[in-house]
Symmetry: C2
Subunit: 120 residues, 2 copies
């Protein structure tokens, strides 16, 4: 029962939510305020704040005051890179499934910069 699994499970649990993934995706472009995130995602501000609190608690994001605003940004690029890798793999899987259904293929869609990491 290596503690690394507990830690990773904690982080994964934090990321395992569609809205939070969207938040991470948005934060990949740069720091954002709570209001901006709430606006972009079309979510109530308290909801976004709660999601951010969870992610901050698990060390995925960190916050910084700027006047009366709070600017959130991603902490560890590697984690987000891994997240992006997984998303890429899943997108390929989706594309493959769509390809099986219909003969037209629109795969290979590179959506995000995700820390400019690219493939290993």
């Amino acid at each position: 029962m290596e503690p690394i699994y507990e830690l990773q499970a904690e982080v994964l649990k934090t990321l395992a939510h569609p809205r939070r993934l969207e938040i991470v995706h948005e934060l990949a472009f740069g720091p954002r305020t709570v209001g901006r995130l709430a606006d972009v995602l079309g979510l109530p501000q308290p909801n976004v704040s709660q999601h951010l609190a969870l992610m901050r608690a698990s060390g995925v994001v960190e916050a910084e005051r700027d006047g009366r605003e709070m600017r959130y940004r991603l902490v560890d690029p590697d984690i987000i890179t891994a997240c992006g890798l997984m998303r890429g793999a899943l997108q390929r899987r989706l594309a493959r499934l769509a390809d099986l259904s219909r003969s037209s293929g629109d795969e290979g869609r590179a959506t995000i910069p995700v820390a400019a990491g690219g493939h290993s």
Copy 2:
């Protein structure tokens, strides 16, 4: 609300569990039977079976009959690679924290890492 986030959240939710991460880690060495996994992880067989059912439902693993045994194996290497990348990043973070706590206040004492608090 791109469906990719829903899918990825589903997969992440599947992975966001210490025991399941252990299972994935074990499966990374090659296919395993349920009994073997239960034995290695020291978990009840029904529990392991439930975890495997979840992971199979989300497409993380797949199963194959072999006599009266069931052999489970990982489906997508990329996803597991991403998982491993994240684990590596977190391990570095753990190591860094341990290093900080050792050099800052604690003199060689048997230290129980309190938390990953840290205030900026």
